[in-house]
Symmetry: C2
Subunit: 451 residues, 2 copies
């Protein structure tokens, strides 16, 4: 039986970064990572294996960090944790004793429980190479493709597939708009518009009632009675934490399905940490638990867990809760969102004041290919502390949502943002006279003049 | 004689934004802006009027904000300030009485005092439409163009002109590298490389000894004896504050040439403010006075002055000193710089620790057109507070320097930056596992493991 110091279960971004951070903080410890599969895909890259990347194997996570950081990589399935003996058993009979254990088992895409969900031709976006290769083949052959779910993966898939010739792409979304779980309506609409222009059809405020077919999917019946012809159905309706391994080990799982963790990424069992999609997240503002599943959040948590493994209490790195920073790119349009939005604030009766601004992404606007940047900032009322923001704009605004994300994490006020110093340049930014984050913050100040 | 509340002298970005901010903060005051010229150019856009923009008139600042904010625009030259009578006289004999005066007279490009500087064919980048139109004509006709000075304007001009067919472009720079006043060598070199690839010749560590010609420039003689043929010479060697108007009015000017201001943008004379290129700036860290001439800094100061005009002491908005955030774009390469760099720290014997990282600007890196992002962060030692940063990368990294600028202004630590939450997306950012700002910050932490 192997006896090691640090054991990480799971080889996605969370597991990898936890291992690297563990090594950085503990140069002399013996670190092992166990993962089920020979090669891991880059999860956020998956929508792009169907066209932009020409093969699944172009979307693989490189393993060079394991050797570089002296991390033993074991391919195998962990099937049992004995927390008293500090032991993990693999399916092949191997047992590993650990001092510190990090659970990073990820999530699996949900299947909606409708009739026909088990037909041939119904897929999800699973993180398995062979499965994805089959899906890729199926997409190439298909003419009528129905995507169920208009969240990030759904719209990114729709955009990616719309660039392939001779496909009829439809997206069925139960909410009022695609992306509306993360964006206010005007931003969600801007995204929808981009994909509509590519010929994708939307069925909004609509649920799927049945996937119809004999052996193979033939059509999708909606709850309004309408039927859409379908050679292929892709369910992109969210994911559930993989917690089977921990369920019987006495490791606490919250109601929503993720592993409970404290602010240092520790589970309820000493020396066991959980990170990434399998762990709950806490809202940065409200501390409510939720399940934000993003590789960026997973890496954030992994760095914290990796640092905390052997630290004494006063040196522990703290997870401040997730600000939920999202971005996507739809046919030339960057959409970014962080923290609270207007819809979310209204739902929770949080009093807010909103600043908005639009500006060209170049200056002067007479430069060719000038597009518009749209910024919306949400401030707490009356403190005018920044609670969140959204951005839409051309490619050169890609990092603007991260500037806002920093401001949210720093709890900056409208006054501080109105007095921000930024670099501007004609060919790559909005003009200094109209930098949209500054203007949006000023808008909130202008109604409280002090003399 | 006109009697108004707020008078602003100068119609560049500083003047315009001061007027708008003054209006926002003082809805009922009478505001007048005096400027010398009928139409103002966008100063940062000037390098691009020669090719990307096809005419000088495509680089004009729109005047619509004046009417929208009920600001009276007077075209005329202010020639005298009487601070006791609170009166400004114009060249046409008109006199204006003010309650509050904002000086935003800008700067003028320097002429280096070499023989031949007055020859026909020797130009500077003056902010005058007719002059620039003449220069534009001269550039079209010229074959051999020598740019003296490799700062931002010099290299931007060189890049812009290198895209026009059949030009021999040379840049003469007295320092070791172009852009080296604002970037460490590796970044300056990356910029130089981009322009070299476009066929521009560099003469580094080289001074101009004489501009040679009879009536018109024929060649440029360097201090190493070499002569470069020249039909046209453009001096881009910096600018000097326009302070003639204030010199005899008892308004204090610092040794370096800018108007002295306190942290609220007030001059030494009550009710007179100064902003933009004509005013001194103070370093964010050291409080040393300097002359950072940037439209973005000018707008920052203008917003502060505009807010402070009628405020009581406790409500005054404070200028924290400039962090000097710069960016440029050279043939597809974004270069950004903010705060202190390694060269600057060494010169001042400031103890620093440096974090560096490189990452692809897409993920996975197998996506087409993937370029590399290079980040360098400078932290104070031993506090590990961020003092500055530099970025080089493709277009989608344009706003990354502004994220770093926010972090500098917030005095963030390496630990806070290593634990930053950011949005990542395959098509528009570095991967979450290798986001370069986080990695550069981690590098600084990794040598102080706490157990």
């Amino acid at each position: 039986m192997a006896k090691i110091d640090i054991l990480i279960v799971g080889g996605g971004p969370a597991g990898l970064i936890a291992a690297v951070a563990a090594r950085k903080n503990n140069p002399d410890k013996k670190i092992t990572l166990v993962r089920e599969i020979e090669k891991c895909v880059v999860p956020c890259g998956l929508p792009y294996i169907f066209n932009r990347l020409s093969a699944v194997e172009k979307d693989l996570m490189p393993d060079k960090a394991y050797e570089a950081n002296k991390i033993d990589l074991v391919i195998g399935e962990a099937i049992k944790i004995e927390t008293n003996n500090k032991k993990v058993s693999l399916k092949n009979g191997e047992e590993i004793n650990y001092e510190k254990l990090v659970i990073a088992t990820g999530s699996s895409p949900v299947i909606i429980p409708v009739k026909g969900a088990d037909l041939n031709g119904v897929y999800r976006i699973r993180k398995e190479i062979k499965y994805l290769e089959n899906l890729r083949e199926a997409i190439i052959k298909a003419k009528n493709i129905v995507i169920i779910g208009g969240g990030f993966i759904g719209v990114e898939l729709a955009e990616e597939l719309s660039a392939i010739k001779n496909k009829n792409i439809s997206v069925v979304e139960i909410l009022d708009h695609c992306l509306i779980a993360n964006f206010d309506e005007e931003f969600a609409l801007a995204g929808e518009e981009k994909i509509k222009e590519k010929g994708v059809k939307f069925y909004l405020k609509t649920a799927v009632e049945e996937i119809v077919g004999k052996n193979k999917v033939e059509k999708v019946r909606l709850n309004n009675g309408k039927e859409i012809p379908a050679d292929l159905v892709i369910m992109a309706v969210g994911a559930r934490p993989n917690v089977k391994l921990v369920e019987y080990a006495g490791i606490k799982v919250i109601e929503k399905g993720g592993i409970w963790v404290d602010e240092f990424m520790q589970t309820n069992i000493p020396d066991i940490f959980a990170i990434g999609d399998c762990a709950e997240t806490k809202n940065f503002f409200t501390r409510e638990n939720n399940l934000i599943m993003l590789a960026s959040v997973a890496c954030y948590e992994a760095r914290i867990a990796g640092a905390n493994l052997y630290r004494k209490e006063k040196n522990l790195v703290k997870n401040n809760g997730t600000v939920a920073a999202f971005s996507t790119y739809l046919d030339g349009l960057v959409l970014g969102s962080v923290g609270l939005n207007e819809l979310g604030a209204n739902k929770k009766n949080i009093k807010i004041v909103i600043g908005k601004s639009e500006a060209p992404n170049h200056h002067p606007g007479t430069l060719s290919n000038t597009g518009m940047i749209k910024v919306k900032l949400i401030f707490e009322k009356p403190s005018k502390i920044l609670l969140g923001g959204q951005v839409a704009g051309p490619e050169n605004t890609a990092e603007m949502i991260n500037l806002i994300a920093v401001a949210v994490q720093q709890k900056m006020t409208a006054q501080e943002l109105a007095n921000l110093q930024v670099a501007t340049h004609p060919l790559i930014t909005a003009p200094p006279t109209a930098y949209p984050i500054i203007k949006a913050a000023e808008m909130v100040l202008s109604d409280e003049r002090i003399s």
